[in-house]
Amino acid sequence: MAQTPKQDRMTPAERMRALLAGQPIDRVPFFPFTRGFCARNVGYPLESFYADPEKSFWSQVWTQEMYGYDGSPAIGYAAYGAWEFGGEVRFPSSQWEQAPIITRFPVQSEQDVWNLRLPDVKTAGMLPMMMQFSKLQQEFGTSINVTCGSPFTRAGNMCGIDKLCRWMVKKPELAHRLLRLATDHGVEVVQYWVDTFGAERITARTSTPAEANQVISPKQFEEFAFPYHKELHEKLLAMGVKRFHCHICGEHNLNLPYLARIPMGDRGILSFGHEVDLETAASYFPNHIIAGNVEPQVIQNGTPQQVYELCRIAIEKGKKAPGGYVLMAGCELPVMAPPYNIYVMKKAVGEFGWYDY
């Protein structure tokens, strides 16, 4: 490793602005993709990360200050949709939990699908807390993120992914109804954010865990996931939203040809898990920023040397991406990750991540 580390020549905000504009930057940015880890890091209860917008926001700001990484605070959770459409979730509290989990799906039967209605975006589920969080983002001057999909993952959260899978084959009209509701809800939420903050500062965020090829086939992705995700992005673009961060979570290699046809703004950020090679990702998204893909399980269970090596490999591949690259964990950085392993990730950027400009 370098004995005299290079110094940053840009602030995190300058670096991201330049990266998004396609301009030269000093080094690869580093977003560890920290969520509940931040609450633990500053001594807050894990539940507060999702239940208390102030604690969630400041735990992220302070953790970022401590490690010196890039990016800005964000809020969202993978089980979004269940609570918002009338089900129930449980906030994480035990040492084995990570994020809110669904305790009751709003859709239990086929009839529930037809009875389901779009919720009030001002009062449903976690939306009031997310709005409060975004007001902190506005006040602090960071990008204002709004999670709005993916429609497929959210549909799965409404009825249970096992029901959705069965209905896709046996009763596709039920699956399409839920996907329609999930898409329309995503659009309504973003419209609310645009009406509140204006479109210019908004980053629309989606993630795609339920539609990974560990679950569905590319043909099923083409019919049930792709059209709705594409429609969502097109409608958001029409509203004036310019920035997208799409977290392509899990094994998506067979879905990449379809994902590449979803408009991601100018320029979008696409983050990938360890299942998708970064060079492959860059080939499908040459005009967008690629992020990832350090395996979270290794960040938690691995040695610092193993983490460092994975970061080296990711940085060396990612730096070749024509649209630009951000070092990230392949999915949420584990709540119980050894803090030193995050420090090691930053060290890897310091060793391998410089550009010559």
């Binding site: 084995w96 990570q98 096992d162 899978c165």
Partner: protein, 223 residues
Amino acid sequence: MASEDRTQELLKALSDAVVAYDEEAVAELSKVILEEGIDPLDAIAKGLAAGMETVGDLYAHQAYFVPELLLCSDALYAGLDIIKPHIKTEEQEAKLKIVIGTVEGDIHDIGKNLVKMMFEATGWTVYDLGRDVKLGRFVEEQERTNSDVVALSALMTTSMLAMPKVVEMIKARNPNVAIIVGGAPLTREVANLYGADGYAESATNAVQEVINTIGRLREMRAK
């Protein structure tokens, strides 16, 4: 009593119906098989389980994905529910036993349910604890059932951390129990790190992995 040819014809049809995830056909054929006096154990092994073996191959070759696996599982259970009550009690008690569950803090259970189905299809007695299972319940259930195997599932990096704790708790009470782990964040390396005896990469190889693990443990104890 069905002839040999008729038996083979019916068992093949049953197997094909599982592969085609045709619940109604599986149920109907299962009734016919019993009416024609075919051995229920053969119906399960050479009809239902044989069908699931083909399903496993289709999954391994990415012709089938989780939706198809779930529907094939539904078809399998449609047959098992009809055939199993006709199996003699002493034949059932001789089967190997497995306790299975998704660990505390984790509600993901599709993979676990598919593994459960694979074991039931091959004649194991499965004690399914469900999901978000308190760690001590695995120990209690293993002792209550005297199961040969405990299978732990986790999909989250936080919940996977419960696995070494469960392994330690079970081994402290009964070191001869084989413990296998599985779930998206797991690897064989991590399974070894956690002290597990085996690792199931997918539902379709879980049964073979357990058989191999039990064999390996017996060899080690014999030395």
